[in-house]
């Protein structure tokens, strides 16, 4: 049973094709990650799924309801924690939660109890009756999540939940997401541009690039699809093409890609064994090397493999 089905979504904003046929499915009860750099189309996908944005084409259902034709039904069963909070900063945490519950049709003692319970669960009890203006970034983010949970949704959307948080607050939030997934059996779709976040949280994930899903599966499956280790060679000068030729002759790699302006990544069987040969071949060709490393497959390599672009580099450029 799929909690979310996304099939060929299209959305264009002016000249920008934000979604170019995004397709994936999320099973009930799993944590699904949409991974990609800023501008890849992750947030737009989420905005379509929470009924904010009307797609130009394609189809999507959440909990069995069509997001375009049954938007009202979708809104009742989802919790949405947007990238930019949307919390009313001049109101208190408790007032924000009460209002959110009321527009979902809750009231009276059940609502008050639910709000108390959530304030406790996300750890903002002490600040519950202070205006949100005075909250720290981590507290505000936890309140955001509580807002998405007031009405006990079946599917929770977390759009870049940890962006802008310090490492400690980020880890606390990861634990909260794991708790929700394990104890409440929620289906969670989260977007992130942090590889380690997707690796840590997602049961399965889809890599999104330029409005398309370029790969999906469990983090381990994605890594297993890459054969061999990644040999990163950072060149001291710009002789990229020469170096690429030398690498391909020396190590018979599965593939060689240019990660950024002066780092080549070769995927080879038995990276450690191949390294001396690679280094002497580069030395023979008089190509100066700044650094060399061998890495077991990581999600970063997966990303590089499927998009031909280095994750960190593209992220900086976005």
């Amino acid at each position: 049973m799929d909690a979310i089905v996304v099939d060929g979504l299209l959305k264009r904003y002016g000249e920008v094709q934000a979604l170019d046929g995004v397709t994936f499915a999320v099973r009930v009860g799993e944590v699904f990650g949409l991974l990609g750099p800023n501008g890849a189309g992750k947030s737009t996908t989420v905005r379509v799924l929470v009924t904010l944005t009307h797609p130009d084409g394609g189809k999507a259902t959440v909990a069995g309801c069509d997001v375009a034709r049954e938007a009202g039904a979708v809104r009742r069963v989802i919790g949405y924690v947007p990238q930019e909070s949307g919390v009313d900063r001049r109101a208190t945490g408790r007032e924000n939660l009460l209002l959110q519950g009321r527009v979902h049709g809750l009231h009276g003692a059940p609502l008050r109890n639910r709000v108390d319970e959530l304030l406790e669960a996300v750890g903002v009890v002490d600040a519950a009756d202070r205006t949100v203006d005075g909250y720290s970034g981590g507290m505000r983010r936890r309140l955001d999540i509580a807002l998405g949970l007031v009405h006990r949704p079946r599917v929770l959307f977390l759009d870049e939940p940890t962006t802008g948080l310090d490492p400690e607050a980020r880890v606390a939030l990861w634990e909260e997401v794991e708790r929700l997934s394990n104890q409440e059996g929620l289906t969670i779709l989260l977007t992130t541009h942090y590889l380690e976040e997707a690796d840590a949280l997602a049961d399965r994930l889809a890599i999104v690039s330029r409005g398309k899903v370029v790969a999906d599966g469990t983090p381990d499956e994605l890594k297993a699809r890459l054969s061999g280790d990644a040999v990163h060679v950072e060149l001291a000068n710009g002789r990229v093409d020469d170096a690429r030729g030398v690498l391909e002759r020396a190590s018979a790699p599965v593939e060689t890609t240019l990660a950024d302006g002066r780092t080549l990544v070769s995927r080879v069987q038995g990276g450690a064994q191949a390294l001396p040969g690679i280094l002497s071949a580069l030395s023979d060709a008089d190509i100066a090397v700044a650094s060399v490393s061998v890495q077991r497959p990581s999600l970063d390599d997966v990303y590089l493999h499927y998009t031909g672009r280095d994750f960190a580099t593209e992220d900086r450029g976005a």
Partner: protein, 257 residues
């Protein structure tokens, strides 16, 4: 009715937030007080020109200042919506089953309520300065109702523009652009009889002047209730039209997401 329920909740939020900054309510009252007290004293002899229906300029002025204040307040009311859009509050609500209409409606009602409360305060100050409302308690009620209607009429417009442009600077510029012309094209400060013909003709189509006429009519002796009712009717129609305009621009905003 989900619309009414959610409007009530949204209104509660806005009034609570407003109550947290009571200083603003006071600051917003400074301007009408300046008009009422300083301007009223400065021009108190202007009634000698004739056509004012009273020899007391402050009596002539007070109900019009209530209307002017309601109009000015309304012309800024869209700022709160721009703020809510910027802070993504609107988007968060749009992803819930909350009534869409309640977002706009609550802003208009909040603006009108503030105008009515301020109107009552202005009238109380007027009372202290010797203003007597000829038709008594009913007259007070009519003035506050007129202030509410003038406010709703222009608040709908300001909300509509705010949802269309979504920029604070544009909403402020528009408020500035309309406030003085509509003030001077009305009998707020001067009797209609003293206005040049072309201005008097234009003032017939000025909603601010509809409000001023109705509010002043119940203050001065010889109230023409039919005229009061007619002008209030015009203002009601204006409110419906501008609320519909705001609802239409809200749809445009939603499509832009």
């Amino acid at each position: 009715m989900i619309v009414l329920r959610d409007t009530w909740y949204m209104l509660g939020r806005q009034l609570r937030n407003q109550a947290r900054e009571p200083i603003w309510i006071a600051i917003m009252l400074v301007q009408p007080m300046v008009w009422l007290v300083l301007y009223g004293q400065l021009f108190k002899n202007v009634t000698h020109l004739g056509g004012f229906g009273t020899t007391s300029y402050i009596t002539f002025l007070a109900p019009a200042i209530v209307v002017m204040n309601a109009f000015f307040g309304a012309s800024w009311s869209g700022l709160a919506t721009v703020f809510d859009i910027d802070r993504k509050f609107v988007e968060r609500v749009l992803a819930t089953p909350a009534s869409r209409l309640s977002l706009v409606l609550s802003q208009i009602v909040r603006s009108a309520l503030v105008a009515a409360v301020q109107g009552a305060i202005i009238l109380l100050v007027g009372l202290a300065l010797g203003v007597r409302v000829h038709s008594g308690a009913l007259g007070w009620l009519v003035i506050l109702l007129v202030a509410t209607l003038v406010n709703t009429g222009f608040a709908g417009f300001s909300q509509g523009v705010a949802l269309l442009v979504r920029r604070e600077s544009t909403v402020i510029a528009l408020a500035n652009f309309i406030s003085l012309p509509l003030l001077f094209l009305s009998s707020t400060l001067l009797a209609e009889k003293q206005m040049p013909d072309w201005m008097r003709i234009l003032s017939n189509y000025n909603p601010v002047n509809w409000g001023v006429r109705a509010a002043r009519d119940v203050v001065l002796p010889g109230t023409d209730w039919r005229s009061v009712g007619t002008h209030m009717g015009y203002l009601f129609v204006l409110s419906v039209i501008t609320a519909a305009f705001a609802n239409w621009t809200f749809r445009i905003y939603k499509r832009s997401l």
